[in-house]
């Protein structure tokens, strides 16, 4: 079985998980959820690390560096901002 097929399988299954997870979220949490999901989409940082860490091409490394900077902004900023938002959700004690 080829790698592409494998990738397709996990892509499809993960999409189903994503669909099911979100289908019943109250409006209150839409914005934090959007922001949290956005932070997770920064996972592309892993790809950036792979590109920046190889030594086949210096130019590719520089592109990778830029990709890391971009992705890290997304990840760090995203998680922090979400946390700030959620910190304020307190239950009446």
């Amino acid at each position: 079985m080829s790698g592409l097929i494998f990738n397709l399988f996990i892509f499809v299954l993960a999409s189903f998980v994503g669909f099911e997870l979100i289908s019943k979220v109250p409006p209150t949490l839409h914005t934090p959820l959007m922001s949290g999901a956005n932070a997770i989409s920064g996972i592309t940082i892993i790809g950036a690390v792979v590109v920046a860490g190889q030594v086949d091409s210096e130019f590719a490394q520089i592109i990778g560096f830029l990709a890391i900077v971009f992705a890290t902004i997304n990840v760090v900023g995203g998680f922090m901002v979400t946390d700030r938002m959620l910190e304020m959700f307190k239950k009446k004690n």
Partner: protein
């Protein structure tokens, strides 16, 4: 470390992400969910550093340090009310990163002919989707911040032109797969993708930006997933797909709450400027409204058994959430039962009111969803409508053809008395007049919401 072990740890990280997203779906666990997701990300990054392909670390460390500094700074400085802008811009960076990863991978191999067709297709898609996300998010950011006019910027045949560009860019992705050494194709694809991001978001009204951001968020997940196909990385594929699907569903939920289709949001050039009140059609001058004063409102509230507060976009504009809480505290001390009724699309982003009120320390179990609060209006003495307009507009029920017709609204007119806090009679987001203002049982309290509430708070001391 063996690749198999890396994979197993990726699998663990996948599980952590899924549980994290699940926990993000309920108020009591949301914060821990976000933290779990961050932990999953951390594990994923650390373990990737053990990948055999990774030899040089300077760029990695440099990039992470720089990116973290910028991200942390921005996240700390942003005000609560600018959250949507912030999410937009972060999202743009994420999409951009995915495009860069594909580009970097493309550049890395000295001879692109060694790449298989499927690799090239996923690369092309990654560049395409990533770039659209990048520029699209920045336009959304600009619209929200006011750098770019919030009005839909359209020109004749725009949708047609965009459709041509989209089809063309997909054609270029295919071309690149067959002719990978042709750098011209590559650059044109890149350019068109960046242009598409701009052209698809410009025609959308500023107030629809939250939906657009959510959609772009879904795109950036998809772009990450495509980047995962390019470098053959499970974790990337899975988390990208998770976010892609979640974003799509979320976008859909948001559209539903406004009773509009995604197509209408994207291509309808709807919902002009981002702030309510400045401009818009003049109010109908034939009918009369009843004005009221802080003293009068204070009296009515203080002697009510039950008061419901329905906030809207004006609360955010006036930044009146803290004063509002002050007023509510005073009323509760007087033995009045106070509840907040939150319409799902009040404000300009989903959960806007919740975030705002949470900032003022209002506990979330005092906030009631539309479905929960609607049956209660019958037994409510006074409803304070603070800077809300469309979400209490009866036209949604009565006026066929109105832009909000069919949208479920807060049934405030069932209460004994409604009091609207706003600066004028001008319409809100949907640009339409509101018959509620002229109802017998309604009173208007004109003025900036913060000022009005401050006056009310003052007046309550003397009741």
């Amino acid at each position: 470390m063996l690749p198999d072990i890396i994979q197993l740890i990726y699998l663990v990280a996948t599980g952590i992400f899924i549980v994290g997203i699940k926990r993000l779906g309920s108020p009591a666990t949301a914060r821990s969910g976000n933290q779990l997701a961050a932990l999953g990300m951390f594990i994923g990054i650390v373990i990737t550093l053990f990948d055999q392909q990774i030899i040089s670390f300077e760029y990695i460390i440099g990039g992470i340090v720089l990116g973290s500094a910028i991200g942390a700074f921005a996240a700390k400085k942003v005000e609560m009310t600018s959250m949507p802008e912030m999410v937009a811009i972060f999202n743009g960076f994420g999409g951009g990163a995915s495009a860069l990863v594909a580009w970097g991978e493309f550049t890395r191999v000295a001879d692109p002919n060694v790449l298989s067709g499927q690799d090239l297709v996923t690369m092309g898609l990654s560049i395409l989707i990533g770039s659209i996300t990048f520029t699209g998010s920045f336009i959304a950011f600009g619209k929200l911040k006011g750098f770019i006019s919030g009005n839909p910027l359209t020109f004749p045949g725009q949708n047609f032109f965009n459709a041509i560009l989209t089809i063309g860019s997909l054609g270029l992705v295919g071309w690149l797969a067959f002719d990978p050494t042709n750098m011209l194709v590559f650059w044109i694809l890149f350019g068109i993708a960046l242009l598409l991001g701009i052209l698809t978001v410009l025609p959308i009204g500023g107030a629809d930006m939250p939906v657009v951001i959510s959609l772009l968020n879904s795109y950036s997940g998809l772009a990450a997933s495509m980047a995962g196909f390019v470098i053959n990385n499970n974790l990337l594929i899975i988390s990208g797909a998770l976010v892609g699907a979640a974003g799509l569903i979320l976008t859909n939920i948001m559209c539903q709450a406004m009773n509009r289709s995604l197509g209408n949001v994207l291509f309808g050039a709807f919902g002009g400027d981002n702030g309510g009140g400045d401009g818009g059609p003049a109010a109908d001058t034939d009918k009369t409204v009843r004005e009221t004063t802080a003293q009068d409102v204070a009296l009515q509230c203080a002697y009510a058994d039950k008061v419901v507060i329905t906030p809207g976009y004006g609360l955010a504009v006036a930044q009146a959430q803290h004063v509002l809480k002050e007023v509510v505290d005073k009323l509760e001390k007087k033995g009045v039962e106070v509840k907040y009724g939150i319409h799902p699309v009040a404000g300009r982003m989903p959960g806007h009111m919740n975030v705002l009120l949470a900032e003022a320390d209002v506990p979330y179990d005092q906030l009631y969803d539309m479905e929960q609060i609607n049956p209660e209006f019958k037994s409510t003495d006074v409803v304070l409508i603070i800077g809300a307009n469309d979400v209490v507009n009866p036209a949604a029920k009565t006026t066929e053809g109105s832009p909000i017709y069919g949208m479920p609204i807060l049934d405030v007119d069932e209460a004994k008395r409604t009091i609207v806090f706003k600066r004028s009679l001008s319409p809100g987001f949907a640009g339409i007049d509101n018959a509620l203002f002229y109802e017998e049982t309604n009173q208007m309290f004109f003025g900036d919401a913060k000022d009005s509430l401050q006056a009310l708070s003052q007046a309550l001391n003397d009741v």
